[in-house]
């Protein structure tokens, strides 16, 4: 195996989990998250000779993943899926505690762009300007989406309806 292949394999081992986690935060679906992560890594692989010289090849893979997610969102079928909410039954439930589950449920109900902005801003720790560049949105729009998403989360976290998503509910 040539040096580049070995180097990419190390890169894959280091970044696959992180990319799949980002995909899950964007889609709430581990199967879809795996698709996004694999797709991003395949594209990164084909650009490896160019990308490996970058200071942070992981940023390139993340950019590919976010772009891919953005373009998939435009597809009618996937939009319909998001409109219907994610598959709760097959979801791999993380152990978040009651507060965390309520907050995560509220994040999942956000519109896709608001959710993507929050994930990139607060999970990936990206500055607003970088989020704007990744999502190809004006900086003002990113600020506005962030503000609206946080306001919505605050409103939902204070609402009694959200509390009813706790345990012990009926099918």
């Amino acid at each position: 195996m040539v040096a580049g292949e070995l180097q990419f394999r190390e890169f894959f081992a280091a970044e696959f989990g992180r990319l799949r986690g980002l995909g899950y935060l964007l889609t709430s679906d581990w199967a879809q998250a795996e698709e996004l992560a694999q797709d991003a890594l395949v594209r990164t692989y084909w650009a490896w000779s160019r990308v490996r010289g970058h200071e942070r090849p992981a940023a390139y893979a993340r950019k590919v993943l976010v772009n891919r997610h953005r373009s998939l969102l435009r597809r009618a079928v996937l939009e319909a899926r998001h409109a219907r909410g994610s598959r709760v039954e097959e979801a791999y439930q993380p152990d978040l505690g009651e507060d965390g589950l309520v907050l995560w449920a509220a994040v999942r109900r956000l519109p896709a762009r608001q959710r993507a902005v929050l994930v990139l801003r607060y999970h990936e720790d990206l500055p607003e300007a970088e989020v704007a560049r990744l999502l190809r949105l004006p900086l003002g729009t990113v600020k506005s989406l962030t503000h609206r998403a946080l306001a919505r989360l605050r409103a939902e976290l204070g609402s009694p309806a959200l509390e009813r998503h706790g345990r012990g509910t009926q099918t």
Partner: protein
Amino acid sequence: MIEQRLKETLGRVAAAEPGEAGAYDRFLRRKARRTRTAAGGTALVLVLLLGSAVAVPRLLERLRSDDPGRRLFAFGQAGPAQWRPGPLVAVAPVQGFEVDVPAGWEATPTWKGFALRPADPGRQRLLAEPVQVDTSYLEAFYNPAGKELYHDGTSPPARGPFKIRQDPQSHGRFPEGRGWFRTDGLDGRLRTTHWYVSWPYHCQGGEPCPDMLAMRTLRVAITVDDGASREVLGLAERLLRSARPITNAVAGQAHAPRPDCLIDRSVVARRSSELFELGPTPREVRFFWGFRTTRYLVPCALRFGLGVEILEGGHRADVRGNGVTVQLDAVLPEGSEARLNKHGTSSAYLTWTNWCGPRSVRLRWLDPLLGDADIPDPPVPSCVDATKPSVLRGA
């Protein structure tokens, strides 16, 4: 600060990812597929040379796929999706069925059966959800078994606890005689089809079953882009016609070991504390837990201790049996009250009597399934005899 909570929660969600076993192999296969798709003309030759590094695992995968004995099991528990390409036999011993997964499709076990999708990533996008193969309750009015039971004009039982989709319905019979029922809904370009055949359930050891178990079905649930619905419906028909009953679907056959029940999946649970008036006085407090099977009728076990702790001034109060647990040992969907109830249910409760101490006590559920938690506005039983101990006991 909500920003901080959000950051922590997102971090925990992303960190709770399923295992990465096989991820690199899947990457190699995908890379090979992408290579074929992208290549053309002279590039194809180059691709074939480069692809030799990944061709061997792919070839081995295909050879394994040709093994007729290849079986994939689902054991009624949740877990990360690990897809395996067909042809293979998808076996659900807990749910009592096995089906053939055709070539060109891949399957992964779920807690209630199997999920299927095309092996080709391009075609996967036609599915809004992977195709679900599972068992499900279907009311007698619609159920092929119910139609046979009540075809003489007698009235079917009152509607059951679970509702079917309110989509256009049809029913019929496969050439080999198996009756089916189907709902088909169209929402924009998204077609949702649920297709059922009846699937008997035999309680262990010939015990009488709750009525609802006669209405178990094997179900294929599809949500697909309308343009691809013909192909996926073809798959659904092949699955339903090839399905074979095993374990609890065959009279006299042993049941598979039951997994633990999964909250809000294979079991719905509720708990409550109530003050019971026994005449004007005295009053006693009852702590109640109820468990009910869900529409998927996934056999599972409830085996754990349930308790309550009474605290006074930060310490365990002087109550005989304080912190006691009642041991729940029940199976669903049969339920421990199968002869009494039409549904798969189970319950347990504790009773607290004769409390002559201060009313400002704190009560806590000790509950591994729903979680330990304080009981808000804790009820307190009346004082009957201050010379006798307060008692918390199981029932």
